[in-house]
Point group: C2
Chain length 193, copies 2
DNA sequence: TCCATTTCTTGTCCTAGTTCAATGCAATTG
DNA sequence: CAATTGCATTGAACTAGGACAAGAAATGGA
């Protein structure tokens, strides 16, 4: 049950059995059906979720009412919205929604606090996790700016080879920052080769 | 001398006099002339720099040899490249370069380690710093995807009102992900109104 | 199983932004 | 103070990708 998340947290920092025991005891398990919105616009995100099973998306709604997907999270990924706590003045426009039936392990601010005070080494692990998200987001920003739609899609396929079978195509288009119609045309062109 | 950086680090976590003393004693001060490259492609970034004075840019070079600016850092901002340590396999393509004569306070991995072990509360402060960068990068990604060039430039002016007087216009275009010529045309249109 | 709804495809027309080239203007440098 | 180099501007021609519309295919719920 815990081996999946333990393996994940130990990827960059290793812990002893006692520390892992504390870690696991503080996790909240939750199964959530698909199409459930975990975080609404304007709410404070009071969780950090580790995906045991399933698929989740995080998205904004832009000024014209269009959804823009910022992140997909599948098995062994973390998802949360940290931006709200930063710009406390203007509420977050981020939504987090399950796309499939999901199982999670959850931290809330209180359990995270408790974890850090009882096993301080986790502070580092979570900092590295944060660092990873930053690196991924930065990479995504670079790709968005400097690659063509076709290149973006090809790269997406490498990075998430299983996703096209799991989520609707227009979600992928939204993630790539292109129109659903254009993605369809790109795919057609690619099968021709 | 230290009040500037102390004010910055205390923005989200407060420290007592002893802690700040440790913090300040571990800082390395460095003045660096303009047009100096602090980090080259393929190198490991072994510093986290706080800008006391001056202006710095961080950029990639894309597949066609074009520079894409990821971040400007001016007074009271931090700059570093954390992505290298993440994707250790494929070396970072990031450069960091001073655009003006600069003064910095620097941490390297060793001094940062020492800071965390002597005053663990700083681990939290640096995590929050990281969180802020992530929020900013995420916001930037969202803008890049869902706003027009004119909107992006207008927003940039709000966020960095002093920069157009300090850095070349084509750098701003590169940051916004548009061509220098098009930025020029946007500016012309804006002055007409 | 059938109906309804969502998703995907395809074509046509359109536009925001690019590329290229020419020109004038500052700013460095010797 | 020339002379070179880099920077901003402008215009003209071009293109990647968007918007719209309408049909086809897939999915899902009762």
């Amino acid at each position: 049950m815990y081996s999946q998340i333990n393996k994940n947290i130990e990827r960059y920092v290793s812990f002893n059995a006692d520390e892992l025991k504390i870690f696991n005891s503080l996790l909240e398990y939750k199964a959530i059906p698909k199409k459930t919105i975990l975080l609404h616009e304007g709410e404070r995100c009071n969780f950090e979720a580790f995906v045991i099973k399933g698929c989740v998306r995080k998205y904004y709604i832009d000024a014209n009412g269009f959804e823009v997907i910022l992140q997909f999270a599948i098995e062994n990924a973390w998802i949360s919205d940290i931006s709200f706590s930063i710009y406390e003045e203007n509420p977050s426009r981020v939504y987090i929604e399950t796309l499939e039936d999901c199982e999670f392990f959850l931290f809330n601010p209180a359990t995270k606090e408790e974890l850090f005070s009882r096993a301080p080494k986790f502070e580092r692990a979570f900092r590295i996790l944060m660092q990873r998200s930053l690196a991924v987001t930065q990479d995504r920003l670079f790709n968005t700016i400097s690659k063509t739609a076709t290149e973006k899609y090809a790269e997406f396929l490498e990075q998430y080879p299983a996703l096209p079978q799991r989520v609707a195509q227009h979600y992928i288009a939204s993630y790539l920052g292109i129109s659903a119609e254009f993605l369809s045309k790109i795919r057609k062109k690619m099968t021709k080769l």
